[in-house]
């Protein structure tokens, strides 16, 4: 047996078959084999055994695996995954499940009746899209899955935040990263091509109506509960494949959902978009090439019991215009209440994170980014209450118009009933030197008052001298520094400011969340955390923005709207890079 131990012969034979012996070991073994028929027989049997195993048929993975994975990843992004290596943490609201369940029963009971009542007088939601942005090329279908900043990067931020002190974090009422709160969204026309995986799953279950090329999408996105409900209910992963953003590439998707603050948030958003040169698709002349200008399609879920007034905006915006938009969103507070920003699934530490995400998307291989901007509106001011009343009246009119007339031609409706947004109205009013209030028709006033009467107790009355919308917006959008100087004294003043550190924007907001809570009025409980899962109870407005870099983008100057010639973004260095 030469230099090979008899006990080890078997191992050497196996290793010999596998080519794992050194040259000297192989030479030794071959000498043994030459003089040992038993060893040769054993080698043959081992070879035959290996061959039998190797010949076993290979089985392919189930075809739905990728789609399921995509949905699961998306869910994790939306829910905000725990840090790597850490045990999976329940969202903060998980502990409130009994309360939420009771609240859900109440809402379903009351709201369901209301919804049924509303349904009896108003047909189903049927958004009309005048002009849809171009559909993604077939080759890009796979990219339609919503993408966020990588968990790795996001976790870095998350870890950093946690490293700063869990107790401190707890004290500040850091909630799980906000996910979108959505019920349904309009679908744009789509070019023929393979449906993305998530969509196919939806279609196969019949939950989503087939939307072939050229069809105008109608009806609910889901066949039953809203996305938010599913999210709250623990979410069957596959249901999230139907997430409204899943199949909308190259668009910035914004969702605003909050019963009472919705229209205020919408008006702010529309104002911001308008200032960025983003125009509503339906306001463009026919044949206007969508690729030449950032556009948005307005969608509205209508009213139902689970999302009283949720709106989802799908905005197509060149990546080059993103920095300015983000800058605008990030540097303007809502009546002095700073805004929380989220990059991907993790609460960002402030503007720096947003900049980093934008820079990564623009100058790196990343072609997508996701932002969720949460604005803590706090108790409504009188001016806001007026805006809300106006907005409610406008929403009511729009809903009624759609019910009674379908989508009547713009020319057939009075200006005040065309479904114009407050921002548009504000812009127009500013241009004409009027306030929107002066344009109200008697019908509008009636609607506004009815809406005001229907507001729950605790809301400030709307019977005040109306302010011009542009003035309100200017007040709302004023820089944080100004707002800080003028805002009412806070029982627990914020400990940091944006000027003191990059993350101050978030820190201040978190402080405020803890000290003010989310309810209305001074007696509101100090719950802290994120109210996004309690639309209708909180005063947070969540903007979820997901976008992709267009595959072949012309020069920023060529694509930038003429209204913003200065929006050329300078390369934004990653702030974490020394």
């Amino acid at each position: 047996m030469a230099s090979i131990d008899r006990d080890k012969l078997g191992e050497y034979l196996s290793a010999y078959l596998d080519g794992e012996l050194t040259a000297s070991e192989r030479a030794d073994l071959e000498r043994v084999l030459a003089g040992n028929p038993e060893a040769r027989a054993l080698l043959d049997e081992l070879r035959g055994t290996v061959r039998l195993v190797q010949d076993l048929p290979h089985r392919a993975a189930p075809p739905s695996l990728l789609a399921d994975l995509t949905a699961a990843v998306e869910r994790d992004q939306l829910l905000g995954d725990p840090a790597e290596g850490a045990p999976r943490q329940r969202p903060w609201w998980f502990t409130l499940r009994p309360l939420l369940s009771a609240a859900a029963v109440l809402v379903i009971t009351v709201g369901g009746g209301y919804w049924i009542h509303q349904s009896s007088i108003r047909p189903g939601y049927s958004p009309q899209v005048d002009q849809a942005p171009p559909a993604a090329a077939p080759g890009e279908q796979q990219k339609e899955t919503p993408s966020a900043a990588p968990l790795a990067k996001a976790r870095t931020a998350e870890s950093g935040r946690r490293a700063a002190g869990p107790a401190d974090e707890q004290k500040k009422g850091v909630a799980p990263p906000p996910g979108p709160v959505m019920a349904e969204a309009p679908r744009a026309k789509r070019a023929p091509g393979p449906a993305p995986a998530g969509r196919r799953r939806a279609d196969s279950r019949g939950a989503v109506a087939d939307q072939g090329a050229g069809e105008v999408p109608r009806g609910r996105l889901f066949d039953s509960s809203s996305f938010r409900q599913k999210l709250l209910a623990g979410v069957a992963v596959e249901t999230l494949a139907e997430h409204p953003f899943a199949n909308e590439p190259n668009r910035l998707s914004v969702l605003v959902a909050d019963d009472h603050d919705l229209m205020l948030g919408v008006s702010q958003l529309e104002g911001l978009l308008a200032r960025q040169g983003v125009r509503r698709v339906s306001s463009l002349p026919p044949g206007h090439p969508p690729a030449e200008a950032p556009l948005y399609l307005e969608g509205r879920s209508g009213r139902n019991f689970d999302e009283p007034r949720a709106s989802c905006y799908l905005v197509q915006i060149p990546a080059a215009a993103l920095p300015e938009l983000v800058d605008t969103l990030a540097t303007n507070d809502v009546a002095g209440r700073p805004m929380q920003m989220v990059v991907g699934p993790v609460v960002a530490s402030g503007r720096a994170e947003v900049d980093a995400a934008v820079a990564r998307m623009q100058h790196g291989p990343t072609d997508s980014a996701a932002l969720a901007l949460v604005r803590d509106l706090g108790p409504p001011t009188d001016a806001e209450g007026e805006v809300l009343a106006e907005a409610s009246a406008a929403a009511d009119l729009r809903i009624r118009d759609e019910k009674e007339h379908g989508r009547a031609p713009e020319s057939r409706r009075p200006a005040s009933r065309r479904g114009v947004s407050l921002a548009e109205a504000g812009d127009r009013a500013a241009a004409e030197g009027h306030s929107v209030a002066r344009e109200r028709s008697p019908e509008d006033v009636g609607q506004r008052e009815a809406s005001t009467r229907s507001r729950p107790a605790g809301r400030p009355p709307g019977a005040r001298k109306p302010l011009p919308i542009d003035v309100v917006l200017r007040d709302i959008l004023r820089p944080a520094t100004d707002a800080t100087a003028t805002q009412p004294a806070d029982p627990t003043p914020a400990t940091t400011t944006r000027e003191e550190q990059p993350g101050g924007l978030v820190d201040r907001r978190l402080d405020r969340l803890e000290t003010k809570g989310r309810g209305r009025g001074a007696a509101a409980p100090r719950l802290g955390g994120d109210a996004r899962v309690e639309a209708g109870h909180g005063r947070l407005v969540t903007f979820v923005i997901e976008l992709r870099k267009p595959p072949a983008e012309p020069s920023p100057a060529a694509r930038r709207p003429a209204t913003h010639p200065s929006a050329t973004p300078a390369p934004i260095p990653d702030p974490r890079t020394p």
Partner: protein, 206 residues
């Protein structure tokens, strides 16, 4: 062959970089690239297609979540497989514990007749081939699969990684977190056990 492997590894590296930068399409590409191999290996290790599906999905998810910690010291595929195999082994251990807890208590000759005992044994051993799997493998393959399933888990895992997935000893050692010498030993013992179980078939093969 080696050049192809190098090219594949290089492409993996690029995909991983893109994924780390947040490119979801890179993740999809990696899934497409490796889902079949991971699924097949996990299936052979855990012996149950439904479990293998779930475990494969979990492995990819975990890889996605942990991609930030991937430093490229090993190949992505090796790293991914380490995750998948660990999940599969953990799953097997848990399944065995569950089965023991639920079935041992009522077990007794006076309580369980022969049919019930057979059923219990089958339930306890979820790795028993279901008819669909068995039909797919064919009779010869079924015998090989049965022999493979009867192997000790440690041996089976090494055999699957080597003879089905084609990992070398160093990679197997890295995946399982054991020494290369242990890999060699386990592989040999697994093959010897298989040889004994499949001896009647070896005449046709050799």
């Amino acid at each position: 062959m080696e050049a192809a492997a190098k090219a594949s590894k290089s492409t993996d590296g690029l995909l991983v970089q893109r994924l780390q930068a947040g490119d979801m399409s890179a993740f999809a590409e990696l899934v497409r690239r490796y889902q079949d191999r991971v699924f097949n290996a996990v299936w052979r290790i855990c012996g149950h297609a439904e479990d293998a599906r779930d475990l494969t999905q979990q492995a990819f998810l975990k890889a996605y979540e942990s991609i930030g910690s991937f430093r490229g010291r090993s190949g992505f595929y090796t790293w991914l497989f380490r995750i998948a195999v660990n999940q599969a082994l953990s799953h097997r251990r848990q399944a065995r514990r569950r089965a023991t807890q639920s079935l041992d208590a009522p077990a007794g000759p006076e309580v369980i007749g022969s049919q019930a005992a057979a059923l219990a044994a089958r339930v306890q051993d979820r790795s028993a081939a279901n008819p669909a799997d068995a039909a797919a493998d064919g009779e010869l393959h079924e015998r090989v699969v049965t022999a493979l399933r009867q192997l000790d888990q440690d041996f089976r895992t090494v055999v699957v990684l080597r003879d089905i997935e084609g990992f070398d000893y160093a990679q197997i050692a890295e995946i399982l977190g054991i020494a290369p010498g242990t890999v060699k030993s386990r592989l040999h013992r697994g093959r010897m056990a298989l040889r004994a179980a499949l001896k009647p078939l070896l005449g046709r093969e050799v």
